[in-house]
């Protein structure tokens, strides 16, 4: 059986326009890098919500190269995606790219820095998304909103840590 290993995803919102998502993985940076940059592997984990597939995943992984990611929900006949340009690449360590949403209004352009930080046999993935304004950032985050969750001071603690 697998060893139970479930590190927390940390989401924070430093400054007015950034969103930072951090997560540790029980694998070397080279392998996490492969999963992020291989068009055959990325669709297997990114954005695979129930009902959605990722029929388009094209990545020309070089500085100045572009990428196109597209998701599709057959049943609802819905599609959306992202496109952008790679601005900086350090193999197994860093990707800097622009990101422009396609066919999704509530998202906004961003400038993304994806870091693969080696921690022994593990890797911390640190994704920093910088949006044009606080308003754009908020509308992106709002897409993940739900109502009807209960009140608790635990969640306040979580929030106070998250925005730190």
């Amino acid at each position: 059986m697998s060893v139970i290993f479930k590190p927390e995803v940390e989401v924070s919102t430093p400054g007015d326009t950034d969103v930072v998502v951090k997560r540790k993985f029980n694998a070397p940076a080279e392998l996490v890098w492969r999963c992020y940059t291989d068009p055959a592997l990325l669709p297997r984990w990114l954005g695979g919500y129930p009902g959605w597939t990722m029929p388009v995943c094209e990545m020309d992984l070089r500085v100045g190269g572009t990428y196109t990611w597209r998701w599709r929900h057959d049943e609802q006949d819905m599609e959306f995606g992202f496109t952008g340009t790679f601005e900086e690449i350090i193999p197994n360590r860093l990707i800097v790219h622009s990101e422009r949403p396609v066919d999704v209004e509530e998202m906004g352009d961003s400038h993304n820095v994806i870091e693969f930080v080696p921690l022994g046999d593990m890797t911390e993935l640190v994704m920093t998304m910088s949006y044009a304004s606080a308003e754009v950032r908020q509308s992106v985050l709002d897409t993940g909103m739900t109502d009807g969750m209960g009140v608790s001071f635990d969640r306040l603690d979580t929030l106070l840590l998250a925005v730190d």
Binding site: M1, S2, V3, F5, K6, V9, V11, T13, G15, D16, V19, V21, R23, F25, N26, A27, L31, V32, R34, C35, L41, R44, W45, L46, G47, G48, Y49, L125, A134, E135, Q138, S139, L141, D142, G144, M145, T146, D147, M149, V151, F153, R155, L156, T158, L159, L160, A162, V163, D164
Partner: protein, 116 residues
Amino acid sequence: MPSTNQLDATFMALADPTRRAILARLVEGEASVNELAEPFEMSQPAVSKHLKVLERAGLITRGRDAQRRPCKIEMEPLVAATDWIEKYRQIWEANFGRLDALLEELKRPQGGKDAK
């Protein structure tokens, strides 16, 4: 669902460590400006300034008592804010859970059936 403006105001107010500390204190119960100023070693006017930001964001209300005007935390905007950050976090958690599974698969030399 709260408006984007409300959430902006909430996060603007929460962007400051002193204001977060004030809220953490108010979770324990109502407090006057004097009581709040004490642990932070800040002047009363400086604390009052922070309280105004929190009040405008709807994160606190002030009592009517003219002398003391105790501050009280308002949970609703905070709950609205935690809702989205939690949901956003869960989206990534789902992505990364699948990535964990993929990494385990790739780590096995011949794509064997079971991880150790």
